[in-house]
């Protein structure tokens, strides 16, 4: 025994006294033993105050010995980086660990925030709905945001590695107390695949501090034998330090596994998704606090926790104990605590009809008993000095003590049960909610089912608000909700349990009300004259315990968050000086060179004057083949597909059923029954899936197959007056002269070296343009050959930005940029195409609605700024009216400083735009109103001569 641990017993417990661990708490060094939690080690060292409450900054000591702990939350760093709000009651005391108290300044023992407590009358339930109104919320926001919450987010890099694991089992046992282990043994012996999950570092549950006789043997022996047997079965997995955090449909359970989280060579947390044929919940029960004045003082603990500390960790939490109970489980703990050497002075029981057996047991031990008494208030300021209570004969009595062990009854731990769809029933006798109707393939056993082992004893007497005002009585320790707050909320008519919870914030803290929900709703029941069963419970949602965000994310962070798609010729582009940017999922060259604007202008002019080269590989390519391919696509496109001849290309629009434009691009009829559909680059997968859905779900009688071949083909786009000459130099290509291969034609074949190719003459730039497709793995080599054929410096690679300028100059829409979720084909000038088509197509009926035909809809127009030197960004608004009644008539969708035209041009959507050509409008941007003229969206070569040359 180390002399530094004055409250540690000389023997007993499940700690390893042969070794010590040294850790720091708030800068001071403490010693403990392996097997300790931070809470037990600090208690052994006599530390009483471990935290400050969230709202009023009251000093708080440890309340519990488990996951329900509301008070002792630390920021802890064990080589993992500092992690906030770790429960000291479950965190192992590790050598070298550094822990800090939270929500206090300058220290946990003297906290300036306590001023909030001294002015507590200003902060009743719902105070933030009543105050902070004048002059406005903004006046208070800064201070409130600084004060609210506990713990601080860690900064720096997270050193923990996170991973996800999926698994299956026949039986998942949650909890390894006697009931859980018995269930696991039974299933294991039947040969079923069993997984046992225990959130504690050790298996055994209550047996670890509360030995009993099982099957005629001492429980320690039984536990050892049971674990050895389970360990020896190949079909059983045992998982400690892992919390079953959520239960989802069809028996999916998520488990936050920290078994490797404390490794010194790099912590690992695992998030398991386990699909179980059957779930056995052996989750135990949580002891509830009692209600009396100042019941939140450091030194007031749950009786079961006092028992756990002395039994498992060999720590005396106090010298003179007073018990405040309303049930037999509390007596059991207090008698055991007394027998273990922590002297119990008195037991105050609110019940008048305590079992003779218990009274005798207390008398034997010299413990004063006060049945039928009412606890009034705990004396002391930062620690307990005594307990005042009203005896059964209504005289006020007092007992000196330095520890109050309370027990307000047990409540089954049913969060997972409820998440699985289980129904709870209020049990009058035991004053708790017990499982009533189990969902399929789920069983609840042990204390979780409401079997506490004292069923023959006296019933539990629910806590009530003390009749005498004796100081504040805490219901929710973490959120500082008192009985008076509940009363106030009821007076203000918050009588639904869900309203009560939100108004008072009871049960909404980090502990999710594990020690307060039952108290809140029994008070609510009492105050509104209902039974707790009628009041009902709030819904318990995942997670049962806080799970680190990293564990939920797994390895999907950093580069793995959204893996980038790289072009087949990515490295070739890099060699050409490409600056890459993200376009959808793709990393594509934005431009080539150092100076963005100059590069874009140079690239644009190269296309206009000689020839540019663009890597169009992400262009969506979907093959549609079969006898009904033409009929199918005719339903898909706004355009007429049936009249397209083989070897020809047509531009088309796709709508959704609501008549909104969702994609555009050309489609090719390679053969009578074989089409190639091009989609917008970012849209290939979505459109391919959408076509499949239409084919399989609605047009399933049409004979065709769909295949997305986007990544199979790399696309080299050559555009500009010299494009034909460069391309024609590839040996084996067809004759490209306009006479034999005019605009909107398609050809396929093999180059002289046998490389297969597909060639379509289409243009997104307004120049003579060819899209040459070759197998993806040949991308770089074909690019190099084209470059060599053109001669040094002749073939200018252009990026996405230059292409966007080129198509804006030409007035070609970019779906999703120049259109939004309300744009129909009429709005972008395709009214004639729509009206010409006599057959039904997707979205056709929607375009006949009056609203779709309105002439004042936002319609696509071009505009040019009157000031040649000004520029506007996309998103700027077309405005009308003066300052007072100014309103937006639409907005700029694309704009650029056109190198070709030497001025700022753009396209946009404006109300009634088709009838407003020539009109002057104002474009509003960042406080400026720029005059502009509405023009046709096609600024460059409106007749299309250059494109068809």
């Amino acid at each position: 025994m180390s002399p530094s641990q004055p409250l540690r017993k000389a023997q007993g417990g499940r700690i390893d006294r042969t070794r010590t661990v040294a850790f720091r708490f708030d800068g001071r060094r403490y010693l403990g033993h392996p097997g300790d939690t931070l809470a037990s080690a600090l208690l052994a060292n006599g530390v009483k105050v471990m935290g400050r409450s969230m709202k009023l900054h009251r000093p708080r000591g440890v309340l519990s010995a488990g996951v329900e702990e509301p008070n002792a939350l630390f920021s802890v760093d064990w080589g993992s980086g500092k992690i906030p709000s770790i429960r000291a009651t479950v965190m192992p005391a590790l050598d070298g660990l550094v822990a800090q108290s939270q929500n206090c300044f300058p220290s946990v023992n003297f906290d300036l925030g306590r001023a909030l407590d001294f002015t507590h009358r200003l902060w009743p339930a719902g105070f933030y709905y009543k105050m902070f109104k004048w002059p406005s919320w903004r006046a208070f926001e800064w201070a409130v945001r600084r004060t609210a919450g506990i713990g601080r987010l860690p900064d720096g890099t997270d050193r923990t590695r996170y991973r996800h694991l999926n698994s299956h089992c026949d039986v998942l046992v949650v909890g390894s107390g006697p009931s859980g282990l018995a269930a696991a043994l039974e299933a294991g012996r039947r040969g079923e695949d069993v997984l046992v999950v225990e959130q504690d570092v050790a298996f055994g549950g209550s047996l670890l501090h509360d030995p009993m006789a099982i099957d005629g043997a001492a429980s320690d022996d039984w536990l050892e034998a049971a674990l050895a047997e389970l360990d020896g079965m190949d079909n059983v997995r045992l998982m400690a330090n892992a919390t079953a955090a959520g239960c989802y449909d069809h028996n999916l359970v998520t488990i936050h596994d920290r078994s490797a989280a404390y490794r010194s060579d790099g912590p690992v947390e695992t998030f398991h998704k386990v699909r179980a044929r059957r779930i056995v919940l052996a989750t135990g029960a949580t002891e509830q606090p009692m209600l009396f004045g100042n019941n939140d003082l450091p030194g007031i603990m749950l009786a079961g926790a006092v028992h756990a500390y002395v039994g498992r960790y060999a720590v005396n939490c106090g010298q003179r104990v007073a018990g405040v109970v309303n049930n037999d489980a509390g007596w059991h703990s207090l008698l055991a605590v007394h027998d273990a050497g922590t002297a119990v002075r008195a037991i105050v029981d609110t019940r008048g009809d305590v079992e003779r057996e218990l009274l005798d047991a207390a008398e034997e031990r010299g413990i004063a008993v006060h049945p039928g008494a009412t606890p009034l208030t705990a004396r002391g300021s930062s620690g307990v000095r005594g307990l005042r209570f009203a005896a059964a004969n209504e005289t006020t009595k007092q007992v000196d003590c330095d520890l109050i062990a309370m027990s307000g009854g047990l409540n089954p731990t049913t969060q997972l049960y409820s998440q699985a769809g289980g129904k709870l029933r209020y049990d009058e006798r035991r004053h708790c909610f017990v499982p009533d109707k189990d969902p399929a393939d789920l069983d609840v056993v042990g204390a979780a089912s409401g079997s506490f082992g004292w069923e023959n004893g006296s019933s539990v007497r629910p806590c009530t608000v003390a009749p005498v005002r004796t100081g504040r009585q805490w219901v929710d320790f973490q959120h500082d909700v008192t009985a008076a707050d509940i009363e106030l909320a009821v007076r203000e008519n918050y009588v639904s349990v869900e309203h009560m919870k939100r108004y008072t914030t009871a049960g909404m803290a980090v502990d999710q009300g594990k020690t307060s929900n039952l108290g809140v709703l029994s008070l609510l029941a009492q105050l509104t004259g209902r039974s707790p069963g009628e009041v009902g419970t709030t819904t318990a949602r995942p997670q049962f315990m806080p799970v680190t965000m990293g564990a939920i994310a797994g390895n999907r962070r950093g580069d793995f968050y959204r893996p980038a798609k790289r072009l087949a010729a990515h490295d070739w582009h890099a060699g050409e000086g490409a600056v890459f940017d993200d376009y959808g999922a793709w990393k594509r060259p934005a431009f080539y060179g150092d100076d963005r604007d100059a590069s874009i202008a140079r690239e644009v002019l190269a296309v206009r004057q000689s020839v540019g080269f663009f890597d169009g590989s992400p262009l969506g390519k979907i093959e549609v083949k079969g006898p009904d391919a033409a009929r199918f696509l005719d339903r898909i496109y706004v355009n007429n597909v049936l009249t397209l001849k083989p070897g020809r290309v047509r531009y088309g629009l796709m709508l959704n059923e609501n008549g909104v434009v969702i994609d555009d691009g050309v489609f090719v009829r390679q053969d009578e029954d074989h089409f190639l559909v091009n989609t917008t680059s970012g849209n290939a997968e979505r459109i391919a899936a959408w076509l499949e859905e239409w084919h399989q779900c609605e047009f399933f009688d049409m004979r065709l197959v769909l295949s997305n071949v986007t990544s199979q083909w790399a696309v080299a786009t050559l555009a500009g007056p010299d494009a034909r000459a460069v391309l024609q130099s590839l040996p084996g290509l067809i004759d490209l002269s306009t006479a034999s291969f005019p605009h909107l034609r398609f050809a396929a074949g093999h180059l002289a070296d046998g490389m297969p190719y597909r060639l379509q003459r289409v243009s997104f730039s307004g120049e003579q343009s060819y899209e040459l497709s070759v197998p993806s793995n040949r991308a770089a080599s074909i690019f190099e050959r084209l470059q060599a054929a053109a001669g040094p410096g002749k073939l200018v690679p252009i990026g996405v930005e230059a292409l966007m300028v080129l198509r804006t100059e030409k007035g070609f829409v970019h779906v999703g940029v120049d259109t939004d979720g309300t744009t129909n084909p009429l709005d972008i000038g395709f009214g004639a195409v729509v009206d010409r088509k006599q057959r039904d197509f997707i979205g056709a009926r929607s375009l006949a609605r009056p609203n779709d035909r309105r002439t004042d809809r936002r319609q696509l127009v071009g505009f040019e700024l009157l000031d040649r030197n000004a520029s506007v960004p996309a998103g700027a608004h077309f405005v009308t009216g003066s300052n007072g009644g100014r309103r937006s008539e639409g907005f700029v969708t694309s704009a650029c400083d056109s190198p070709t035209l030497g001025r700022t041009i753009g396209i946009g959507l404006i109300e009634g735009g088709f009838g407003r050509k020539g009109e002057e409008v104002l474009v509003y941007d960042s406080g400026r109103n720029l005059p502009a003229r509405i023009v046709d969206p096609c600024f460059y070569d409106p007749s299309g001569e250059r494109m068809r040359a």
Binding site: D249, A440, Q696, D840, R845, R849
Partner: protein, 101 residues
Amino acid sequence: MLRIPCPYCGERDEAEFRYGGEVPGSIPQTDVGDQAWADYLFARDNPKGLVHERWCHSHGCGQWFNVVRDTVTHRIHAVYGAGEAPPVVDCSNESQADGGR
């Protein structure tokens, strides 16, 4: 997270599937009235109890099919192919008795 029996691949995890919403009525003719067209486009039953819905085994065989699911218990009573008539399902008042959540 459901376990969905794909009629082609067998029972798989929901993560492998794409949801396609309630099975809509058949597509009306183009001469249908505005109100009937709006009902077809936007109105869905959203029942408490049995619902017929479309799912696609998008990370498996890629096939669309229909599922009869109880929205209260999440029990999947039947699956059937796209375009097929829905099977008759006897749910024995399961969700009514359960009362829902």
